[in-house]
Symmetry: C2
Subunit: 380 residues, 2 copies
């Protein structure tokens, strides 16, 4: 096991009716900015529950945060925060609203001239952030219980991430009932996103960390069990609740403690979304199998263990095939061609971008720009 530091101070409020609990947790008597997207929270009752819980509070609203939130939108909210002296941010929505709100929280306290530096800096340059919290309405990204955010910039078609101890939500409300009205496509995306989050922290090489392995396998097994059920019966509380809790634990930093991590699939996937527009989870489902095929020798032993424990199969190839069949059964395509993306074009662009950032990824740091191109060419 490698040395590690683990800290996750976010308070989770899980279950039916828990939005009411925020009254005592959001500070009173100071301006609070409530951030959300394009208004689905006004159709599913979440907006009313939040406003009822905060009827004694001083709430300003900022709506219109888009999927794959862009810096340009966030900076409008930063202006609001500064104008009104906002002391607390409440993100109401999915991972995009949350990630945008983390960036707003950090950018409002950023001392440099250009907040985009927060994304550009290797390591973190965040020294402070406005306190924030979340009402989560889409189980997927795990952003409700970590300090990370992924932000895009329209002007340059970039999609980059930052992470900071200052941008953990103080609390996150997870009420599975608020997710019952989600479109099936978003649920499918969430299952795949959570599944790949686990794989990025698990499917590497053995590191004398049997408990971390088993925790990762536990989340994968649970997603395999409840994923199809919650897609088929979106208003069945039990599988939806287990899916929601699985997605949080997939990326709250716990299962990655003391073990090597990969993240190649995410890094290439971010470029595909920035360049061509597929949803985040859709890019992961395409790239993952290219990474596995390209790195088969390095990942062989762990694929064998994964296959035996999660799928009950006997070979690395059978583990790969089982995973792809699971994604297909969820209705998730796994090829670039499905999105009309030319593999050679994608390979060339991603290679150039990785090269310009001098980026090298993977648990062995052997995913060079050329390797990323080769991975994409495997996914035509």
């Amino acid at each position: 096991m490698q040395n590690f530091v683990f800290k996750n101070p976010t308070e989770i409020l899980f279950g039916r009716g828990m939005i009411a609990e925020i009254s005592s947790r959001v500070p009173q008597g100071v301006p609070v900015l409530m951030t959300y997207g394009h208004g689905s929270i006004k159709q599913n009752g979440v907006y009313e529950q939040v406003r009822a819980a905060l009827r004694e509070h001083n709430v300003i609203e900022f709506a219109g945060i888009e999927p794959n939130p862009i810096c340009e939108t966030c900076l409008k909210a930063v202006t609001l925060v500064r104008q009104h002296g906002v002391q607390f941010l409440l993100a109401v929505g999915g991972g995009s609203v949350l990630d945008a709100t983390k960036f707003i929280a950090a950018a409002a306290r950023h001392e440099g001239s250009d907040p985009w530096e927060i994304l550009r800096t290797v390591g973190s340059c965040v020294r402070s952030a406005v306190p924030l919290a979340s009402i989560l309405t889409l189980p997927a990204t795990g952003s409700e219980s970590n300090g990370n955010a992924v932000i895009s910039r329209a002007a340059t078609a970039e999609k980059l991430y930052f992470g900071s101890n200052h941008t953990f939500p103080q609390f996150a409300v997870l009420d599975p009932e608020t997710t019952f009205s989600l479109p099936a496509k978003q649920v499918r995306n969430g299952i795949v996103d959570a599944f790949v989050h686990v794989l990025e922290q698990y499917l590497t090489y053995a590191a004398d960390a049997p408990l971390q392995d088993r925790f990762a396998e536990s989340i994968l097994q649970t997603l395999v069990e409840v994923g199809p059920k919650t897609l088929a019966n979106p208003r069945d509380y039990a599988p939806r609740a287990s899916f929601m809790w699985s997605a949080t634990l997939a990326l709250n930093n716990l299962i990655g403690c003391g073990v090597p991590q990969d993240w190649t699939t995410h890094m290439i996937g971010h470029e595909l979304t920035a360049l061509y527009g597929p949803d985040h989870a859709e890019t992961l489902a395409v790239v993952l199998f290219g990474v596995w095929q390209h790195q088969l020798r390095q990942k062989e032993a762990k694929l064998q263990q994964y296959g035996e424990r999660v799928w009950g199969v006997k070979s690395p190839q059978a583990a790969i095939d089982s995973t792809e069949a699971f994604f297909h059964a969820l209705g998730m395509p796994t090829r670039l061609s499905h999105y009309g993306i030319d593999a050679n074009d994608a390979a060339q662009h991603v290679q150039e971008r990785f090269a310009s950032r001098r980026a090298v990824y993977g648990e062995h740091e052997d995913i060079t720009p050329e390797a990323a191109a080769a991975i994409l060419q495997l996914r035509a």
Copy 2:
């Protein structure tokens, strides 16, 4: 899944040499009280590492905390805290030193006349505590990452617990190398203690919580795998590290989120230690099998699942037998007679104590004082 609130703000610093990291985390320029036991930390190098890390700090020492720490000893430390205006407590040792330090932290800020009220109050009367942290030298109790403590009172032979959000350690250092010199008996006790902590949160009834079940089973499987290895080879880093991390996750509140819990074994076990003196883990290994036999019908389905997944056996009785054989293989007795304790005497005393507290335990609240007596009579 039941509704739940989960928050665990303790920062874990895990691995070789991590004691050095405390320099920047312990406040400088204010009196810090370092608490420890009977001096084993002066034989294993931990004392020197801590003092070296804090050579710029204002450190006062309080030594002599005993196993099953007693209120009377803790109150001496409370006097020191008040005399010197201590602003931070650093517990260096195992669960006893940690639990004592939590009580000292809460008692120093207690406003009533008698700090024992903290233990006597149903729920928690702790409104504030001196900030504290821990250097853990004995994997067992999980106290390094929760807000709970068990304290005894010599005058009345009582052993009671309290829990508060104010007494989570701010950080905990877990360096497996600091545990290499532990006596085998303490390692055996730690394995059993962690194992039973998991069982108290798992071996109840199904509650639509498949991920919590699998996390619990993951810790049990890991303890079954690494427990005998780390007993046989105490200086082998890898199994010791996995044992240490398993013991923390066994009782950091995570696996108990949203599921029914039992804790009967602990409640009866505390009385046995208070009345007759066996180590905490020794009492658990005796009582557990009485609880299972007495509650076989209520726990049958979960024992079946536990047997299949952790032991690969096909019946509840085989699961019970496998567990008892595991404890015996670790060198842990499972009968009262081993300690010269008369079962009828124990049954009578525990029944009286539970009755005087009007205590009812178990996931179905069906462990009456009479049931506790019957459980002990099964363990002659």
